[in-house]
Symmetry: D2
Subunit: 285 residues, 4 copies
């Protein structure tokens, strides 16, 4: 059993004394630091930090840490968030007809690798309903056609609100979201794209890769922004291919990449390790 | 000491009996096959083969193998080439001001990893002259300005002819070749591009990679065609990067990639393992 | 729908004319070769080949190919096998309490990545029964204690015979098999060991890796022989770790390796791509 | 031009307030932190830190920082070291007859990738003298026979003292050092072993790897201790091999691994990123 811990994530302009102020605040209140990571972007004079600390032994409780920290935060113009380890994030999975990423997330969550609650699975197809059923998770079938996209996205948004969802995972959800949903959840929608972005943006990336004759294929997990496949990248990986691989082989090999890369990105997000900065991410691990 | 061997490379439409015909031809003439690789592109009904065989024990010699094989070749509409292991390819290296790929090629050739003769090094800058001198290789300084490009490329072509060059390596040669040179040596000019193509085509790919916030950088070695960075890819590789890496770090990490990927491509070419097919390569290893 | 094909695997002493004889035999009988791979071990003068060919168009059928080929085989002292693509191998999975390799094999089989029938799952624990149930596969619970090992292995052997099993997969089956079973199925039992063999033979390899302070962990899939963890290696892979990784982190990261490496080995075996040669394997892909 | 910076490395028992104390000390004296990394080993309650800070703007100079910090250090029982960026480490390279690691280190130093002075190269063979000469580095030929080992190691030690060497690199130096030298320079002698340790300890690891039929080969860089190939590992990497690779191929492929892994370890050491902890290293990057 992990002890109850707090996780503080911070972004601010870089200047002297930030680490000292944050860690002194924690030390003064009796906190034991479990893990601390920080990054200074020397080019842009920006500072990023994630610090995880035990609550046991502190003279503050979960309701008073934030207000007490606000004073430190204010003096450094920090954007900050405070999370607690006993409040796992609530994750909605959106999927179409391919089951490999869905299974992968569900099995990793079951194994404790992904610490999250999964209150619902949403799909534009009925195919994955039996999988959801096996894992005891409610399944919402919201088919998307030419005329009902806005309507169905409104339903998705309503479900997300109702279930107090923290993060939406597009686990090979083959619909482009409209700005309505994307703007509603900045840095809270994670997609897996089946290419090494920025190569092969858009549709059918394995076919594009085959045509171009590349010797490696990749997968990219990123936050969704309004511009297709242009959001901040959280994780990427590649694998070797050769002239012997048909498009079907690329698709097969790519499935393993997609699963691993998406899982890595989701895990980092769930652990509050991902800070975004313009088009880039800082992954503090 | 390796025994004298012949290397036959073949491209033709796929149909029944090709492997049998080629290997029976060799068997009938007493050849011992050292290595044979073939590939059938089932989608396009195309066939590719590389077979390496000992000459010792054959009832044909190096001058009569080709004519004898022509009959087999004709019946299958083969494009084919015959090389001999005691005639290493002659390689010209073009370089600008960065020494890492140049040193790498020279050291690998010296170590016997790259079996080739290097009769000359050509550069648009004087900087690498001492390196060439250390390795005892003539160095031609052909500076390229706004007005003399055609003239200098004509000199390059003259040197290539004079020295009976088989393959030209652009080892970080920072000039775009004109169609004149490119058309003259199809599939005989190998470039190293410092990105995972087709991502980050063109100039300053490490800067582009930094701006996009990718989590891996790559290098690509390809034959040069008239369309910039679009030629058939021979080899690619990538390495992990993170938010901690500045552009300078990407450049440093990329140097190792560039060396390894270029060396892999050059080695495959020198061993007659690379067949091109439209925009793609078949690398028979 | 793949066309019906035959797969011929061959091992024999290396000499002139083998490839010609095999491919001429196929050509004479009208076979179209889909894929052919061969390897000559020059040091040991040994020859290995795998050739896959379409039956459609041949003047032999599946019952007469073997007898007809026997003559070619005899003249080269070949050990050979002939398989047909419409007779997938029958695979028994043995598992203990960890579900990740089991799920992985079942999902890949369901997705068509592993072409095999799975008539039964055997375990020394009851835990995986619901998984087997979800996939509609009979589950045999054969607990192993200090006194009943021989008896339970006899039951396993009986089930293997009864269900005409071709290959046994130890998907994190945490029992050392006795020579009785191992000798019965040479090169037909595949294990996944959670280290980069030959490092960390035996129990608790992740703990051993942690203690030694290695910077990468690995997984190895191999055929089971009488000597523990010493059988011919089919596939291996590694992943990076660091001082930040606890033993639990190594176990978590290792799960992905185990799944990928086991799946790769099983796939190669199911496609008749693995030939063994002393302690080594030839994987013809 | 990098600004002058100090690098403080710290090991101590883990307890509350360490990071706060260290960073507050720096903040109070006006230091700007460029990079800070720390690690808490939760199992062993041990703490490790590396912090790099600019001297410009501090109210202490290079002579007074250490004494001022001693007070902080004392209260936490720290083992600590303070280095300055304008005092690059002095590195001796020991080499036998293989040139690839030697060239690699020299070229990286020349390119600024390895910030170090190289006052001398020592070898038990004369072969590398021309390389040393090309790079303008004094070369000491100290041949080692059956009877003069102690004598030659005494000469090595004398040279190391005379040239105020900080770190000794065994760049494929094919002599086992005696305890005399090893004990003299704990955590200051770096070796490259051409296997993925702990696999294939001792001599001829590529031959061992070939015999065992592994599917990947590796290289390991470690500090030298009295027990052969058992010192704390700094860096490791691997590459794929197959049945097609002869021992000579493994040796060739291994050369690239050896160079990359040794360079990574040396760079980490030169930047004071490696702390040792029993048999393990903490590499703070």
């Amino acid at each position: 059993m992990q002890p109850l811990s707090g996780i503080l994530t911070i972004s601010c302009p870089d200047r002297k004394g930030i680490v000292a102020s944050v860690t002194s605040f924690l030390a003064q209140h009796g906190a034991n630091i479990l893990e601390a990571n920080q990054h200074s972007d020397l080019a842009d004079k920006a500072f990023f930090m994630r610090v995880q600390f035990e609550l046991d032994g502190m003279d503050l409780d979960r309701d008073t840490i934030g207000p007490a920290f606000a004073e430190v935060a204010g003096s450094f113009e920090m954007q900050w968030q405070l999370h607690f380890s006993d409040r796992p994030k609530r994750m909605a999975i959106l999927v179409s007809r391919l089951d490999h990423c869905l299974y992968d997330l569900l099995l990793r969550q079951k194994a404790g690798e992904l610490v999250a609650e999964i209150p619902l699975i949403i799909s534009n197809h009925p195919d994955m309903e039996p999988v959801a059923h096996n894992f005891g998770i409610p399944y919402y079938h919201l088919p998307v056609g030419k005329t009902n996209r806005a309507e169905q996205e409104a339903k998705i948004a309503a479900l997300v609100e109702e279930h107090q969802i923290d993060v939406i995972i597009l686990a090979r959800y083959m619909q482009v979201l409209t700005p309505f949903l994307v703007q509603k959840y900045p840095n809270r929608i994670i997609n897996i794209h089946h290419s090494f972005l920025p190569a092969f943006v858009g549709g059918r990336p394995y076919h594009q890769a085959y045509e171009r004759g590349v010797k490696m294929i990749g997968a990219t997990s990123h936050y969704v922004t309004e511009e297709l496949d242009q959001g901040p990248i959280i994780a990427q990986d590649v694998t070797q291919v050769s002239h012997r691989d048909s498009v079907e082989d690329l698709i097969r090999k790519g499935r393993d990449l997609e699963r691993l890369v998406l899982a890595r990105a989701v895990r980092a997000h769930l652990e509050d390790r991902v800070l975004t900065y313009g088009r880039r991410t800082i992954v503090l691990e």
